[in-house]
């Protein structure tokens, strides 16, 4: 961070405009060319544009990495606390840009240096120390700045010709080492030049209405830098896309959807500006780069937030920082931190920083405090340490801790794989269980099963259309709805076609195959050939973070549970209810059942309806995982048959166990074999398994099964 105060003191005001043009330079090579024209400093530039396909690419390539390393090492020499690479780099580049004004000869090169990711640091400083930069830092940073210029210049020179290779960096380092002190003394004046003052919120915010993301980002950073208490809310609004600007006067506003279109309130004053048509105000779009820096900005602004989750994310954002002030802030927060997870995160951040300490004892302590931490950052930091560490004791400790972490991570990995297997398995079970009724119990080779699933999924879609503002509850409605709709389709199919085909399973195969074609085309023509959107309710998205190494996604979690619920329900229906009894009777001996006065026609219809309904319910679940489209049924029909047959036709337990087994087997093979081969192996396995157990896992017993 030491480079940056200087950037404020020296750089900011004069260089603002230039920075801006430098930024544009990166994105719009056209502009770049123009600017070159103005400056008669074609020196390096043409070459650089010449040799790479995308000009912007070339520009950015030029001064990037080496200068980073340069400053890093350099500031390490000078400064009390070392500068972490990206901060250092930013500082350096910003400065480069600044000095660019002084020395026009290498202007293009330096601008390119500035161009690629310059301005985050501006924000950093602003927030980190609201402008009271101690002079010591200034001079120190200043020298860092100066040498950065050297480095940038030196390197960009190399960069033109060759790729940035180790040797370049080495050269850079050497230079840095040589010239540091000299430069440190040479140009102090920069420090006094500009009175430092963060851009005020009002001025900063205007930039948001611009079209260029670079400008917007600059504006956002200025906002963060302003140290204004409204900043955090503004930035959050920006991040969430609630921030609009009025097209006529480019006034920045909060907007909410309203009857007329949008209800606006001024972003700064908070005064209501009434409603306007949705055309009159435009959302301020943000891109990845902005989101990144926004998140960091917000984090620094919200480290002290009352909400522990906010604090946690803030702390995690800061993991890996070396910035003394940030660390200080963290330590301060740590002392009054109540929430355990946040405390851990903070400790992690602090420890990782301390790994770089000169004092071996401190490093050792840090290593120990990382023991058992599952955060990837911890592993990476330790890994890094192993490479650089000189002190034997620390080295040993680090290795030990790392090994310990690795082993724990491994166990969680296995747990994860099992979960993946289970969830895949339960999807198979869901898809197959309806078939276990229509095919297993009734002996109907129901090729339309997949389409019944599809109908269930489309029902979900329609339900969501019907209740757009209640997405979270839509599934609760969709499940019974899908059951009924698919069930009715099933009954219709049974009454119109299948009932004429009992005892002739192959005819049922042909007929239902025909039906499946019809249903598909029906959906294509009535709804659309395209996939349709089925939204995930909020409670289905995201994942349950058990620890940094193991998290289970909610939708999968729910689906595993759901599959089991469906299974149990079905089991109860078949074992406990009168219908179930009749179903089993009919399936075992139709004639006898009829003789006993079972109205087999009705039972058949209901049974098939039940199977179809379950398929529909499965459709609801699948709509949460995958696309809903006319072809979705095809994707599951074959797997479903595999599961049912593997488990043993006519045996629900078989379907359950079969499905889960195949799922888990598949997932354990995948890492070794890859997805495709895994599936193939599973199929081969089924084929061979059927050789051993010609009637599946749980064969049907008794004479009925013979023949």
């Amino acid at each position: 961070m030491h480079a940056v105060p200087v950037l404020l003191t020296v750089g900011a005001p004069p260089s603002a405009g230039l920075l801006l043009s430098a930024l544009l330079l990166a994105t719009w090579p056209a502009l770049a060319a123009a600017e070159e024209g103005e400056r008669a400093s074609a020196g390096a530039a043409p070459a650089s544009y010449a040799d790479v396909s995308s000009p912007a690419g070339a520009v950015a390539e030029l001064a990037e990495t080496p200068s980073i390393d340069g400053v890093d090492a350099g500031s390490a020499d000078i400064a009390a606390a070392p500068a972490d690479s990206d901060r250092g780099a930013d500082g350096a580049e910003a400065l480069v840009a600044e000095t660019g004004t002084a020395d026009s000869a290498d202007a293009p090169v330096e601008e390119t240096g500035a161009s690629d990711s310059a301005n985050a640091p501006v924000a950093e400083t602003g927030t980190a120390d609201g402008g009271d930069a101690p002079v010591a830092e200034a001079s120190a940073g200043d020298s860092a700045a100066a040498l950065a210029t050297e480095v940038a210049a030196a390197d960009s020179a190399d960069a033109l010709g060759t790729q940035n290779s180790e040797t370049d960096n080495a050269a850079a380092l050497a230079e840095v080492a040589a010239e540091t002190d000299a430069d440190a003394g040479l140009n102090p004046p920069g420090a006094e030049d500009a009175p430092e003052q963060p851009a005020s919120l009002e001025t900063a915010i205007a930039g948001l209405a611009e079209r260029s993301f670079k400008v917007k980002q600059q504006a956002a950073d200025d906002i963060a830098a302003s140290g204004d208490e409204r900043a955090a809310d503004l930035l959050k609004a920006l991040l969430n896309g609630d921030l609009y600007y009025r097209k006529d006067d480019k006034r920045i506003v909060f907007a909410e959807k309203s009857a007329a279109g949008l209800a606006l309130t001024d972003a700064l004053t908070g005064e209501s500006l009434g409603e306007v048509g949705s055309r009159d105000a435009a959302k301020i779009t943000v891109n990845n780069l902005m989101r990144n820096s926004l998140r960091t900005d917000i984090a620094t602004l919200t480290l002290a937030s009352p909400d522990p989750n906010v604090r946690l994310s803030a702390a995690l954002e800061m993991v890996g920082t070396d910035d003394a002030d940030t660390l200080a802030a963290l330590r301060a927060q740590r002392s009054e931190e109540s929430d355990g997870r946040v405390a851990d995160a903070i400790d992690l951040a602090v420890a990782i920083a301390e790994l770089k300490s000169e004092d071996a004892a401190v490093r050792l302590a840090a290593v120990e405090s990382l023991r058992g931490s599952l955060y990837p950052a911890a592993r990476n930091a330790l890994g890094g340490l192993l490479a650089s560490e000189t002190d034997a004791g620390v080295l040993a400790a680090a290795e030990g801790v790392l090994a310990d972490i690795e082993s724990r991570v491994q166990t969680y990995k296995i747990a994860e794989t099992v979960f993946f297997g289970l969830s895949l398995g339960s999807v198979l079970v869901l898809a197959a269980i309806g078939l276990a009724i229509t095919f297993g119990v009734m002996g109907v080779i129901n090729m339309a099963h997949g389409e019944l699933i599809m109908i269930g999924a489309y029902t979900t879609y329609l339900v969501q259309l019907a209740m757009p503002n209640w997405i979270d509850y839509s599934l609760l409605v969709a499940i019974p709805a899908a059951f009924i709709v698919s069930g009715l389709f099933g009954i219709a199919i049974e009454r119109t076609v299948i009932r004429f085909l009992y005892g002739r399973p192959l005819e049922t195969l042909l007929a239902t195959f025909g039906i499946s074609l019809i249903l598909q085309q029906l959906v294509r023509t009535t709804i659309s050939a395209q996939n349709v959107i089925v939204e995930n309710p909020s409670w289905m998205s995201g994942s349950l973070q058990i620890n940094p190494a193991l998290s289970l996604t909610y939708n999968r979690l729910y689906i595993v549970v759901f599959a089991l619920m469906v299974f149990v329900a079905l089991l109860l229906i078949l074992k406990r209810t009168a219908l179930g009894l009749q179903v089993r009777a009919v399936s075992q001996n139709r004639a006898m059942a009829q003789a006993m006065g079972v109205r087999s026609a009705r039972v058949d219809a209901l049974t098939f309806g039940l199977g179809a309904g379950i398929a529909g319910v499965a459709g609801v679940a699948l709509s949460q995982l995958t696309n809903v489209g006319p072809n979705m049924g095809q994707a599951y029909i074959i797997d479903s048959f595999m599961v049912v047959v593997f488990g043993g036709v006519g045996n629900l337990w078989g379907t359950l166990v079969g499905g889960l087994t195949l799922g888990i087997a598949n997932k354990f093979m995948e890492p070794w074999t890859g997805a495709v081969l895994a599936k193939i192996l599973v199929l081969v396995f089924i084929i061979l398994f059927i050789q051993k157990r010609p009637r599946g896992l749980f064969p049907q017993r008794g004479r009925a099964a013979e023949g």
């Binding site: 005892g503 025909g514 074609l517 047959v645 036709v649 495709v676 084929i687 023949g707």
Partner: protein, 377 residues
Amino acid sequence: MGLLTSMRGDTGGQIMLAVLAVVAVVVPILNLAVPESSPWHLSTYTVTLLGKYLTYALLAVAVDLVWGYLGILSLGHGAFFALGGYAMGMYLMRQIGERGVYGDPVLPDFMVFLDWQQLPWFWHGFDMFWFAALMVVLVPGALAFVFGWLAFRSRVTGVYLSIITQALTYALMLAFFRNEMGFGGNNGLTDFKDILGFDLQSDATRIALFLASALALALGYIACRGIVTSRLGRVAVAIRDAEARTRFIGYRVDRVKVAIWTFSAMLAGIAGALYVPQVGIINPGEFSPLNSIELVIWVAIGGRATLYGAVVGAVVVNYGKTYFTGAFPEAWLFALGGLFVLVTLFLPQGIAGLLRMLRRRGGGTDGPKTASGEASA
């Protein structure tokens, strides 16, 4: 044994062969002799189309042999068809030689841009037609033999058998989709130039291929007919109707099954080999389980357990497909799906059954033996 004697008492078959002969004579004339201008001219498009139908017909016969007479519902016969096709495709690929886009004398194009250095072992020999021709029957045959030997010895029957045949073709499909396999992945094998030195695009070659298909169908038909009329054929039907009983009177059921199953697979392979040069591409899609199901449906529509029915079914369904996809591109699936449903509901014996009914009207007594709809499921 005199195969032709087997045609006795098979009116449907005789007529089918007669029609086939007529077509085989008329088509070349209409295509080659009749001038373009004449309304009677038969476009090469149609010839190729008919050629394709004939190979499908042969495939259908192969399926009917195992399903209609042996009671094995194979949902994976497409696999044997495709394997035969690939064997032929590999030969045609090798024939391209330097005319590939990269001009590599040995490697097919797809290997060049996946920059493979030399030919995988299983591609060797396919530059020779006789070898390819041998593989066309051996590869499907061998696969069928191993699969059958396993499955039938351990007495896998009914839907279980059907589903694992499906698993077989499904697994093969996924495998052939993988580019590492060295069969061109999803694109499969295409852009063929010529066969045995004759340009594939020329009308003469197409006619020749068409005639070859017709001949293959005729021979295949007669051979199958020979089997089903032999005592072995009667044993097969016996197995279909009462497997255990057949075993108790001393027949090695598993071996009878393996033998006929393997033969059927070889027929399918030949059909595939004739199919590829006519449509000009073979790719893993041919392995898709849905294809295999569809071809069972041809047989069902034609009339199970009547070989000529299988032929008729294959031609009718595919003609229907060609016609509908052109005539009502939006709605043809309704038509096709509807056809399947209606046939199963109202023509359980398929078209052949319909014909028999007509004959009965005419006072016929002896219908050919047919399966009850029940396969050993």
